[in-house]
C-alpha cells in the first residue's frame, strides 16, 4: 500500500572501537529483551528487515541490526580510508561488545549469520557472561574454502557481480525469487575488497577448531541453525561443531541456504520462532 511506513527506525551511534570513534548505523524495532543481529560477510543489516518488522517477535524483543564499519551505511573509520580492509577476530569481537555497551544493552541476545555465526562462537568462548543467549546461523568452528578470495578484488573483474554470483549458489533454489534477488543485491553493493576482507576473518584469523569445547552453555545458551543448501558452512560442519559443545542445540533448516533471514523470511521464521520462545521462557523461569 502506497504510503505505508514501516516501524523500523534507523539512527547512528558513535562507538569507540580500537581507540577510534566509529559512526555506526543501526536499525531497530520492538521492546523487551535486546536482540542484536549480525549480518553476513560483504553485506549489511538490511538482511534482517523482515525479522525487524515481525509483529510477534517485536512484542518480546528489542531487535537491533547494525552495519559493521565499512559496510552499508557505516563508513570506514576516518583513519583507515585507503588501507586494505581485513577483519580480525579481535576487532570483530571488540566491535560487537562496544556497540552493545554504547547502547547500554543489558545482557543482549546476539544472533549472527555466517561470519556473524562464527563470531558468536567466539563470544560464547570468551565473553559468555555478557550475553543472555547466543544464536549462530550458518555457524561452525571452521569450514573448507571453495574458491580463491583473490578473485574478489581485482580491477579486471567486477567485484559486486562476482561476489553476488559466488554466493548465489548458497541460496536454496526453491525460495522466493524476489528475496533471492534482494539478498544478492546487498552483495552487489558492497565496497571494493570488503567481502574479501571479511573472509580474512572467516578463513584465516577466525579458525576456532579446538576451542569451541570451552563453551559452557550453562552460562549462556547456544543455538546453532544451518540451512540444508549451505555448501559453504555445511550442515555437517555445524553438527560437528555442536557435537563438541555439550548442551548446544543444533537444527538443520530445510529449504534454506546460507542467508535464511533474507532468502526466505517465512521459512526462517518457522525455525527461529521456537528459539526465541525458548529464550523468553528461560527469562521467565
Amino acid at each position: 500500500m502506497s504510503g505505508f511506513v514501516e516501524p523500523i527506525v534507523g539512527r547512528y551511534v558513535h562507538v569507540e572501537i580500537d581507540g577510534e570513534i566509529n559512526r555506526i548505523y543501526f536499525e531497530e524495532n520492538g521492546t523487551g529483551i535486546p536482540l542484536v543481529c549480525l549480518h553476513t560477510a560483504g553485506s549489511d543489516a538490511r538482511q534482517w528487515r523482515h525479522l525487524l518488522v515481525d509483529e510477534e517477535f517485536t512484542k518480546r524483543f528489542r531487535i537491533i541490526a547494525f552495519d559493521m564499519p565499512w559496510h552499508g551505511k557505516s563508513n570506514p573509520p576516518d583513519s583507515q580510508y585507503g588501507d586494505e580492509y581485513r577483519l580480525t577476530t579481535a576487532t570483530y569481537t571488540a566491535t560487537i561488545r562496544a556497540f552493545c555497551n554504547a547502547l547500554r544493552l543489558d545482557r543482549p541476545v546476539v544472533m549472527g549469520c555466517s561470519i556473524g555465526g562464527r563470531i558468536v562462537l567466539n563470544l560464547a568462548i570468551s565473553h559468555a557472561s555478557e550475553f543472555r543467549a547466543l544464536i549462530g546461523l550458518e555457524a561452525a568452528d571452521f569450514q573448507q574454502p571453495w574458491y580463491d578470495t583473490a578473485w574478489l578484488n581485482r580491477p579486471d573483474v567486477h567485484g559486486g557481480e562476482l561476489c553476488a554470483a559466488l554466493v548465489s549458489g548458497l541460496i536454496s533454489p526453491n525460495g522466493p525469487v524476489v528475496a533471492r534477488d534482494e539478498t544478492l543485491w546487498g552483495y552487489k553493493q558492497g565496497g571494493p575488497g570488503i567481502f574479501k576482507g571479511d573472509l580474512y576473518f572467516y578463513r584465516v584469523d577466525g579458525d576456532l577448531r579446538g576451542r569451541v569445547g570451552q563453551i559452557d552453555v550453562r552460562e549462556c545458551p547456544l543455538y546453532l541453525l544451518t540451512g540444508e543448501y549451505d555448501f559453504s558452512c555445511t550442515p555437517e560442519d555445524t553438527l560437528r561443531t555442536a557435537a563438541s559443545i555439550p548442551g548446544a542445540k543444533a537444527t538443520i533448516m530445510e529449504r534454506l541456504g546460507h542467508f535464511p533471514m533474507s532468502e526466505n523470511p517465512a521459512q526462517f521464521r518457522a525455525y527461529i520462532a521456537p528459539v526465541l520462545q525458548d529464550i523468553v521462557s528461560r527469562q521467565n523461569t
Binding site: 571453495w146 579486471d156 573483474v157 567486477h158 562476482l162 549458489g169 533454489p173 543448501y229 555448501f231
Partner: protein
Amino acid sequence: MNPDAASTDRPTVAFDNQLVDAFKTIPELLSRDEKLIGRGRLLDVECLLGPTVQPFHVTICGGRILDMTPAPVLMRSWRFAYRATPAAYRAYWQAVPTPGWHDLLALTKRGEATLEGDLHPFMSHLQYFKDLLALPRRSGLVSAP
C-alpha cells in the same frame, strides 16, 4: 558440428545419451533467452564444457553460442574447462536439485566437477555460466539420478 569429431580413434567410453542430448539443447535454449545473452554481451571465449565422458568445445561470442562441437577435436585450444560427472549434471538439472548438487561450485567442492585453465572468463562471467549450464533444467528432459 565438426565432422572430425566422429572420425577420431578415441577409445569408446560408455556415456549417458540422455545427458548428452540434453547438453546439446543449450545453444537453442540460450538463443531464446535475451536477458542471459545480454549478460554475456562482452564475453568472447573458446571453452570446454560438458560431462566428463563427452565434453564439448563451445565458441561463445557476445554471449551467444556460435558453435558447439563434441570433443576431441584435433589440436583445438580452449581457455578454460568446466567438466562434471554425468551424475553431477543429472542432479544439477533437476527442477529442484538436492542440496550440495545445486551449484557449479558446490559440484567442484564435492569433487564431482573440475575447473581448469585460465579462469578469468569464467570468474568474470560467473553468473552467466551458472545460468547457461542450468538451462536444461527448464526442459525437464533429464530424469532424476
